[in-house]
């Protein structure tokens, strides 16, 4: 059969040895979307393809950072994909289509469902997601992002104790970037680190990782510079390269991030 008349578009997928699915779990406002953005930038900087799945239709962080089309309306390879609406059936249909494509293209995905744990729980149960991943050679990782809010922590514990979200590769990201002004890091996280439930889930296999605040994050955002753009010496949207102080801060932060993820034994879990 002649295949040429049946298709449109142009870009083919590629084969890759590492096929990861990084799922951001937990409540919103804990820095999860930024964490996934960092994971995408890191993978691309290291030469691996990753496609962002943005199920957070309120903030649309990943969709705005990784648009699916360029100014001329042409599709951009590995641009973010989103469900048609935030209705449950639409989200489930979108996830199914994306996971089908993932198997076909062999390109890793990061999935942001900010505040969508219920949706994910249902979907994980419907599809038996972890079995699906095992059958199709996908390595899933659940990343639970936490700030200092104890309500977020209680929600995370509940989630991790639910059977549906049980994943061999679970990391708990303690995000210094979202602590309140004037609060010390220890003051913010000691109640969590000292909580018996935290120790229990860590003993049970979840890997805690501490991510430091990058003080120049807002400046990078304003200038439209990615973390790894700074390392690569790329100019911002105004044609200016990062200053030496900005470069140094970002480089140090990325090095610390890598070291911490190695210590936590989760660096290999990132796409």
């Amino acid at each position: 059969m002649d295949g040429t008349f049946m298709t449109e578009g142009s870009e083919a997928g590629s084969q890759g040895a590492k096929l990861d699915l990084l799922i951001r779990a937990g409540r919103g406002r804990t820095g999860g979307s930024t964490g996934l953005d960092l994971a995408v930038q890191r993978a691309r900087y290291q030469g691996r393809r990753v496609k962002p799945l943005d199920g957070d239709l309120r903030s649309r962080t990943l969709s705005s950072l990784y648009p699916a089309k360029d100014d001329q309306g042409q599709p951009i390879q590995d641009g973010a994909s989103s469900p048609a609406t935030d209705e449950l059936p639409d989200i489930k249909a979108w996830l199914s289509a994306e996971f089908d494509n993932m198997v076909e293209e062999r390109v890793s995905r990061v999935l942001d469902l900010s505040g969508g744990d219920r949706v994910m729980q249902e979907y994980v149960r419907d599809l038996a997601l972890m079995d699906f991943c095992r059958d199709f050679g996908i390595d899933p990782t659940v990343a639970v992002f936490l700030g200092p809010d104890m309500e977020d922590f209680r929600h995370a514990i509940q989630l991790l104790r639910s059977g549906e979200f049980r994943c061999e590769r679970t990391m708990i990201v303690l995000n210094e970037g979202v602590i309140r002004h004037g609060q010390t890091t220890s003051g913010a996280f000691d109640p969590i680190l000292g909580h018996p439930d935290f120790e229990a889930i860590v003993r049970d296999g979840a890997r805690p990782v501490f991510v430091r605040r990058l003080t120049c994050m807002a400046t990078l955002r304003e200038r439209g510079l990615g973390f790894y753009d700074v390392l690569a010496g790329k100019p911002d949207k105004g044609g200016m390269k990062a200053s030496p102080t900005l470069f140094h801060m970002t480089k140090t932060w990325i090095e610390t991030f890598e070291r911490e993820h190695e210590k936590a034994r989760v660096a290999q879990w990132l796409p």
Partner: protein, 152 residues
Amino acid sequence: MARDRKGLRAVLNEITQSADRSPLFWWLVEHHDELMTAASGRRLQWARLCARFTEMGLTDATGKPASVQTARVTWHRVKLSVAKARLRVAAKPPPKPGDVYPSRVPKDWRPQLALPAPESGPGTTDQDKPYDPLERIAEIRRDMHARSGRKE
């Protein structure tokens, strides 16, 4: 090639647990590789394809011409079933000695060599130490205290 397809079909039968798949399903299985190459990550034009399927007499499970939605869903199922079948075939252990007649052994066959285990380097890294969950919590706590200007 024909034998490969027969084997794949047998595994697919086992996976799908259903002998009453539609003619369209089996046709898509038979032509899976050609279609994947033709599609090559592009969007398939289902309306035009369905017209061709109807011309070719490829119907859905009820014997009716396949709608765009049915064809699309069937293709998704075919892709998943074929991928799953191939994983199963790939996961099958190699034949044991004596399972294959000597006359069927390829001329270029050689026994597999057992490679020596890689030697570990002189220095140890964090990755070499056993992971201790409680020490990990303590390590994070120390780091946070240092960032907060607290002494241990």
